[in-house]
Assembly symmetry: C2
Homo-oligomer: 209 residues x 2
């Protein structure tokens, strides 16, 4: 499956997610809450912000907040579940002929293309996470869950262990390094391109040893 085809898959899942998140009388409540929360975390700090503050800034009620997010921490990580679903769908759906790591890398690139449209959001989110140890732990847990889900998707493709687990961990390493470069780079940076470079670098590192 080409990156383009995977991207279409991924985008249709994203659109479904988006629609589910919209209340009839609160167009894009979820997005408004996300933006309000991030603004406040940047302005006041994560610890100093309450759910009431977020709802007020978004012009919505706390009740609406809790229909979308379990707590103020989850606003920053809600996207991780969608990301995981997208990656798993893409990996499981890749043609049998595609090598395991290529299936993972293509899925990551497709997800990267979606994230690319939210670079400024991602950078500000990362700054908030970098400033808080508890949020960093949560990020590590999400990445570990992602590795585990990717390994499961590879097993569904008939990849045996330990290859499935190792490929999944390699995929997460590729993504992590590319993502770090993408948010830190001061000039323009293309996440799918950085993911491709990161894959190439991993291949060079393993081939050269």
């Amino acid at each position: 499956m080409s990156v383009a085809v995977i991207k279409i898959h991924v985008m249709s899942v994203a659109v479904i997610k988006y629609d589910r998140g919209m209340g009839r009388w609160e167009p894009n409540a979820r997005g408004r809450l996300e933006r309000a929360a991030l603004e406040l975390y940047v302005e006041r700090g994560f610890e100093q912000t309450t759910v009431a503050d977020i709802a007020e800034r978004a012009g919505l009620t706390e009740r609406t907040f809790f229909r979308h997010f379990a707590d103020k921490r989850e606003v920053l990580f809600a996207g991780a579940d969608a990301l995981q679903e997208l990656l798993v769908t893409a990996v499981v759906g890749a043609p049998d002929s595609v090598a395991p790591l290529d299936a993972v890398a293509a899925a990551l690139e497709a997800a990267g293309a979606l994230l690319q449209e939210r670079r400024e959001y991602s950078r500000r989110r990362q700054a908030v996470i970098d400033a808080n140890a508890g949020l960093q732990e949560r990020e590590l847990i999400k990445l570990a869950a992602l590795a585990s889900a990717l390994a499961g998707a590879l097993r569904r493709r008939g990849v045996a262990d330990p290859a499935a687990s190792l490929t999944a961990e390699a995929g997460i390493a590729i993504f992590k390094i590319a993502f770090e470069r993408w948010v830190k780079e001061t000039g323009p940076a293309d996440l799918p391109q950085l993911i491709r470079e990161s894959l190439g670098e991993l291949k060079a590192v393993t081939a050269g040893s």
Copy 2:
């Protein structure tokens, strides 16, 4: 540097650590506390065990416990700092001619040879961690810190980023998968051998894609 030479490096650091941990009138207090804590965590569960219980079981005082460990959680993770120091020392000390991933893999194998002598301890420790979400988080944080330290060691060898970070992450992936197999395997299992297999598998996975 050969694995044997790295092992000698690693063991001398380990011996220094061990000596530091001994009080004059409490021979191997640290080891006794570790064993007592693990026994109790397995018998009663981690949450249900207090520092007072651990000290009593070890025939030592709480005061002695706190000279060795910050809290009851750290008993399970104290070895991680030593492991990190050993790995960094081995990676920095490897000859210039050794490829980055090989330097990391040789260091991991040498550390694996030391861990091999504590397999039963490692298995019981893992069962305690698997039963507690908070401990799993702590384990992820330690692994992330280890990846970061390895990347730093590689940079000191003149390896540029992103290769340094990617090699470190690949090393952690290799170790993680080998370690999981090692603790789960019901029959005999050799950790350094599993680390070599895991490296080979990663090479196959990246070459085949």
